[in-house]
Symmetry: C2
């Protein structure tokens, strides 16, 4: 029987076919935390982990995160706050709870319907005293009204009857890092626990540092199969920080009660009076009803998938995983809020505090540039809005221009702490923010490529060029002139490979810095010619002088680039480190550290955490001839442990480029399955945004060979793997949706009437009707 | 291996031998709630249920109750408040909790050491990942400092090591009736969650109705086997209503860490500044240390048992159960606080709101009268202190004198609600407070018998006589004169058998009322002669007149007493009800309702809930000849379902009197085992105080045949069961401890030098040296 068929006809009718479902079959509490991430839902305004509504689970980290709601308090850094838990529903019969772990769950099945953004489950609970209850539920965060989340829980007492007692709960006694006593921290203060009118619960909160208000409201209905209201009594009671509305209803043996819970979360970021707004939205939701809201929600996902789906013929498992990555990617970011970004763990877990890293620009952004340019614009605008803080950050560190923070939350300040604490309580000095400066080049790269791919020149004029100039200015001040060699060097930095820190003249950073300056000068020169008024404004605003531009030019041209071809040394002295190649892999196929290095620290061996020179070659293909790329890929691939989930997708893309199809596909799989198979064992902490974006890049930019050349033309050099017979996907090209079909050796584009030129393997084409 | 030997040598050395232990062997979560009552500890200031310190238990109702801390808020009645939970300790290693239900507990054993008032447990927890941890703990509420509770938890990582993360918690997010959503209610407001100096947590609370302040503090130490402090770091964090102190310590494989938690709870009833007092007591406790406090605590129990033990040779199981009843009885009441009483469920559960019923005077008080007369004085003084409210209560109901409430909390107002709610949500009118007036006679009976047994004439002068007079006055106003019969009747009352309500002229109530008036007049007459100044004071204070006394006399002498001998009708018309006798018993030996009555309401059949006429005969033996007692016992015993735990002990005592030794013993067992074997299935709600006191009465007043005759002499008419070879126990007789040894047909008393006269089966004796 298909997954879908195992649900009741009502829910089965809503669900997509099994190819679109991610399933958890049979209940294993040990897997709860990973599934809470995997089954996390996101609406664009918030994210909600896939904990069980009926509660009573021992191993759980329920969480609701709202874009832009950050707080530090006693934590190391400002982090995305866990906000009051609106999902909880407590079900009791005769003092006995009805929930998943109170009894034996039979025929347990939970599925994430990626096609429709729904989480559904069913099981039959058999209590110790023999009572059997069938539970079936359907949950979603509305894309139509992204501040609203809701679920329907159908409860059928199979062999008993009596009174169902029910608590509609909002639990404000939440913390971050609940299961890690050392790091556990409270980010919100509860300001109000009250009843809503005519029914429901409300919790008012505010962040502890900045006092940002937040309102969470929830209403519950209980109906029978005929839709009749079955609530016998209803009473609100605040229990400290637990808002609790008691309801009861009569249960008849074999008859299903349908419980619907509607929640709304509003913040002071958007509304002066979050409470009033919550009440209004819940009232409107009650009028529309669950089914109407569900229809509106599904319509949004129809539209999203109509743009974002990538169909692969030839590898169903990979197809499934790719869709999972796309689903989470497109669900996470705000649709119309340039003040927020995408966290390294998306909005599905607490790790990394919900901060934006270079992951956004180099891994995630290309998906949005090509598929959802509106969201991409928000993501690059986010950096522009925080440019002032980047200027401060540079100044604070003794540099000029804009130095973007390694980790960025709402204020744009550096959130990566200088000192951090290990799980064993020992403190260590964390140098990442001090040395890992390449993020600043990544921000510039993201802005430039956004404009290049989307053709959004307005962004470049209003924001992008200023980012490019200020980051170029940073690099010019960051590099030091060495008269003895007549060259500029960038000393004491860390490249993507964080195991070697700090080092001098990393190939990656030096290349990116030079590119950043060159790109800024080039863009400024074009602007000067084409839009003198834009240039004049910037010239004045930034206090540019010809002398300074000349300095940049000199710096870039004399920036120390070790070698242009042949084996590239990752940083000064890397080749002098004790060398060894990887010869062992673990059961998951992950490379193991060579035995001779196991007790060594990073600077005592040649082994890399992640793609570094290989990453550089991926980003700057034009700099190196193919032979150089092949040599370096072979060399570094044998020395890379992929301890970052950012690494496999880049190795896929580069393996593909240098003709190592077999390893490329293995890396694609590693990237695609990282969360859906919990490859790294850390999915419980959230989903890997960079892997998701990287996986999409592997398929579209890698196997389908799509890029935009310097002239702004769409070009393809496809090399599908042997088992793929076809890939179909869509992008938005200069405002026009293109339907792209890639078959072995060919690419065809439909553009619904527009005539879009493109090239395939050098041959010019025009889109079909 | 004995229970004791299964513990580590350190704990085994502290424990009594197995005869004194109540054991829970093997862990069965379904039994948690009952064991939480059975393993509840009480210090005289508070009670604490036997929940597991390390938490993580699904089926649990942890609770701490403090004598005199009542609140109503949205509940039906003022009830003993569940106060912040100071017992919690959260233990984590590498994000995984270490607790009973997180893993497989092996070799689980928990014992209540009744001899020393200790709760000890041990088990080895095997986590899903194979880590094994041995846990051993020892908990007590200090009798030496009864506001203090503490436990020691020894944790040994058997096959792993690393960092132990620990949270010292005080959870103020507590409610009453946690597992019954309909009744769940919050009684305290949290006013403060703060750090104590130099370490520890503090929670300030106040009751919601009256604002009574309450302070709860807790400190934790972590030491190794050498006693060295192993706390690496310590940090206080308030999480809303959860006070949390984080601590960590290194664990070494196979080495034991000893965690001690000390708590103190003070209220505004005793201290102006509970916080300061909590801090002081915890500081003093830290200086004394766990072992010294334990020694002081054990010394108190040595002294308590030296008075209270009853040794039965011939039935080990009954001996064990009797000690359990005595242990809980003597642990529960305050030692020096006449403003508090003993709840029907002692201080071990929430049922009946911690209220005092007639259970105190007729079931529990005799134990204290004979064994701990100081505590008995508190219990009777409690009623005197609330006499004003009883006067108000009579007036409110249109009567004169003092009408004691059916349920009494701290204010003395009637706490038994007029309307109450069933678990299914339906409301019903509860007539108990309206009609069950016999409690007022029970209060008088308790005062009179306290003075009679203890010889505390000062109490009688200062308080007791006033109670007798005001209750007599009540009865005189409660009875109505029926000129047609020239008699007084008491109409519309309920006797102990609550299934027939209201009815007219219950034998029980009429007899007790007459006794109450007679006793008051008799006592007053003696007082007039012997202590005219006392009499004059009362005369004036109560506004007594000769005319009123004459009225009482007339009322008593003309009070309708149906028959003095032969079969006694329980109330007017009882003999007209459809009649049937019990012919079926369930698997537990409990009688079943005759089939023809199963759908009937109480007034439609003859079946009784509990001893009524039988109870009357027990209390008033001199009124009835033995044949009458036998006839009535036989008659009513066949019609009583014993749906109250008050019933079996009275049937034991009366069975014994009428020579039904076999049934008497069966009733003794039913009474003795009610909680320790959870006979009635409701031990989870608290322990049965009346059964405990009734069981003690069965043994001492029943089998040993002890009583105090009208002249104030101690008399014995022993009739030990065949299997008992000897009973030894102690009482305090007019200030002198007597060692009483009862053997078949004989009683010997040692009085340590005092010459105490007593009679055995009519023969006069004097105590031995």
């Amino acid at each position: 029987m298909s997954y879908r068929q195992r649900f009741s006809p009502e829910i089965a009718a809503l669900l997509a076919d099994d190819a679109w479902l991610v399933a958890e079959e049979g209940y294993d509490p040990a897997q709860n935390l990973a599934y809470e991430s995997i089954f996390g839902l996101a609406s664009g305004a918030m994210g909600n982990r896939g904990s069980h509504e009926e509660g009573g689970i021992r191993k759980t980290l329920p969480a609701n995160y709202v874009h832009g709601v950050f707080d530090q308090s006693e934590a190391f850094m400002r982090e995305l706050c866990n906000t009051p838990d609106w999902t909880k529903l407590r079900l009791c019969h005769a003092c006995e709870p009805i929930s998943l772990e109170d009894g034996e769950p039979r025929d347990y099945l939970r599925v994430l319907d990626m096609r429709h953004g729904l989480l559904a489950k069913r099981y039959v609970n058999r209590a110790a005293d023999g009572r059997e209850t069938r539970i079936e539920s359907l949950k979603f965060l509305s894309r139509a009204h992204p501040r609203c989340g809701m679920f329907r829980l159908c409860l059928t007492p199979l062999n008993y009857e009596g009174v169902l007692e029910l608590e509609n709960l909002i639990d404000a006694a939440v913390t971050n890092f609940m299961d890690m006593p050392r790091f556990r921290v409270r980010h919100l203060e509860t300001t109000e626990v009250s009843a809503l009118m005519p029914d429901g619960c409300y919790v008012g909160s505010k962040t502890r540092d900045f006092g940002l208000p937040l309102g969470t409201g929830a209403r519950v209905t209980v109906r029978d199969a005929c839709g009749a209201d079955r609530v016998k009594s209803r009473r609100f009671r605040p229990f400290g920080e637990l808002a609790c509305e008691f309801l009861d209803a009569d249960m008849t043996r074999g008859d299903t009660l349908t419980i619907e819970k509607f929640a709304c979360i509003c913040t002071g970021r958007d509304f002066d009076d979050p409470r009033a707004q919550v009440a209004r939205e819940l009232e409107a939701l009650a009028l529309r009803g669950f089914d109407a809201e569900l229809a509106a929600h599904i319509a949004r996902y129809d539209a999203l998938w109509a743009m974002a789906d990538v169909e692969i013929d030839g590898d169903d498992a990979l197809q499934h995983a790719l869709r999972f990555n796309i689903f989470q990617l497109m669900s996470t970011p705000a649709q119309d809020d340039p003040h927020t970004n995408i966290g390294a763990k998306m909005i599905h877990g607490e790790e990394y505090g919900g901060h934006a890293f270079w992951d956004t620009e180099l891994f995630v952004l290309p998906f949005f540039d090509y598929v959802f340019p509106g969201v991409a614009r928000n993501l690059v605008t986010y950096r522009y809005l925080l440019l002032d803080k980047a200027l401060e950050n540079a100044e604070k560190n003794g540099y000029r221009g804009a130095k973007y923070p390694w980790e960025s939350a709402d204020t744009g300040e550096e959130e990566c702490p200088a000192w951090t604490v290990c799980p064993d309580g020992s403190c260590y000095r964390c140098y990442v923010a001090d040395y890992e400066h390449h993020v600043t080049a990544a921000v510039a790269y993201g802005a430039q490529h956004y404009a290049h791919i989307t053709g959004d020149e307005a962004f470049m004029d209003e924001m992008g060029l200023e980012i490019l100039l200020q980051t170029a200015r940073f690099w010019a001040s960051r590099a030091v002139y060495k008269p003895e060699y007549d060259r500029y060097e960038i000393l004491r930095v860390t490249g993507p490979d964080e195991w070697h820190e700090p080092v001098d003249n990393t190939a990656y950073t030096n290349h990116l810095a030079r590119w950043n300056i060159d790109c800024a000068l080039d863009r400024l020169a074009r602007c000067r010619q084409e839009k003198p008024e834009v240039c004049a404004r910037l010239w004045a605003a930034l206090g540019l002088t010809e002398a300074e531009l000349m300095e940049w030019k000199t710096c870039a041209s004399k920036l120390y680039i070790k070698t242009r071809q042949g084996l590239i040394e990752q940083f000064d002295g890397y080749f002098d480190l004790p060398d060894a190649v990887i010869t062992e892999w673990d059961a998951c196929g992950m490379p193991r550290m060579p035995a001779i290095f196991r007790e060594k620290r990073g600077m005592q061996h040649c082994i890399l955490k992640q793609a570094d020179v290989v990453m550089l070659m991926f980003l700057m293909p034009y700099v190196y001839d193919m032979e150089t790329q092949r040599i370096n890929y072979d060399y570094y691939e044998q020395r890379t442990l992929h301890r970052s989930s950012l690494s496999p997708s880049i190795h896929c893309l580069m393996g593909l480029r240098v003709g190592d199809a077999k390893r490329a596909y293995a890396y694609l799989e590693r990237s695609a399955y990282v969360d859906i198979r919990n490859n790294q064992g850390n999915t419980r902490e959230g989903l890997h945004a960079a892997s998701a974006g990287g996986t999409w890049q592997c398929v579209t930019l890698g196997y389908c060979g799509m890029s935009v050349d310097d002239s702004g033309e769409l070009v393809f050099t496809p090399h599908l793997p042997a088992r793929w017979t076809r890939v179909r996907y869509r992008i938005v090209w200069r405002g026009t949706p293109l339907h792209i079909t890639v078959t072995p050796g060919d690419v065809r584009i439909r553009a619904n009437g527009a005539l879009v030129p493109y090239r395939v393997n050098g041959e010019s084409r025009v889109s079909e009707w």
